[in-house]
Amino acid sequence: MIVMRSSERTATTVSPATSEAERRARRDGLAVALATSSYGISFGALAVASGLSVPQTCLLSLLMFTGGSQFAFVGVIASGGVSAAGSAIASATLLGVRNTVYGMRMAPIVGPGRWRRLAAAQVTIDESAAVALAQSAPTARRVGFWVTGLGVFAGWNLMTLCGALAGDVLGDPRQYGLDAAAAAAFLALLWPRLRGREPLAVGAGAAVVAAAVTPVLTPGLPILLAGAVAVIVGLLWPPQQPGRETAVAT
């Protein structure tokens, strides 16, 4: 009887267009979750190669749960060891600042409730924000956010464990090119952000600064200094508006 009533209600309150949009959001979310989770395996292997234990690697994925920051953390540890832990924390944290912006965008989609917001915050990452914002209906946005966020969380942590266990038995990471894989991972994360003249210029400037100061600073600090360049550019230069670039250049 109760089941009947709830199905009747669903049938009357949800229009066919809305449920179709929700189905699409769920499909998008699952596809993104599968693709993203699969490279959790490369993170797990890289983290162990950088000197983290298997439990430390899994703890990082569970707690930090934001790919770019995780790769940054183990990358700095790989080049500087435990003595670079401060720089590793700072690099990972600065790279996580964009998740604050995603959180602001997701808050109205997720809705109120302390525990719901805490859970939502943990799964607020590039992928869940992107899938949610790609939907147009409010309910589809919510479905897209949760399916992607929870799907990536489950898959990413499982694949991290698999990669960490595999990396543990592999031996010398350089023999398998895992150091080159780390560089490629950062490039792949950077690539979609290089649209437009300003990100290209800031990226190139940061690359030059990082290379120039690497021989004179302890590992990790060159990355932080390059980040400072971006903050200075953002504060001092006015945002470029289309058609006004020549005027700004003078």
Partner: protein, 104 residues
């Protein structure tokens, strides 16, 4: 600081940053300068990490098998290859060059 403590600190900081987003008033979203700096900061940090991971060797610069591997990764990204393909291809190129003794 032990590595486990560092993992805990960095993990809690990452979660705190996400939570702050849910607690800030929505009107902050209309502060274009802050949003722009967040975007540029991400680009700069990732670009610096690419460089350090490719030619960094502790506190020295070194050109080895990682550089051609990154070139292949860039080519694949330009051809819109998926993330995992890019990462595995880069590892394979570096492993191959080292296996053949063509690069350090």
């Amino acid at each position: 600081m032990s590595l486990t403590v560092a993992v805990l600190i960095a993990g809690v900081a990452a979660l705190a940053l996400k939570l702050i987003g849910y607690l800030l008033p929505e009107r902050w979203l209309r502060a274009p300068r802050a949003l722009r700096i967040a975007d540029l900061l991400t680009v700069a940090l990732l670009a610096a990490l690419v460089v350090v991971q490719t030619v960094g060797d502790g506190q020295a610069l070194a050109v080895d098998a990682r550089l051609p591997a990154l070139g292949v990764a860039a080519l694949l990204l330009w051809r819109r290859a998926p993330f995992l393909v890019v990462v595995i291809a880069a590892a394979a190129v570096a492993a191959l060059l080292r296996g053949l003794g063509w690069a350090a």
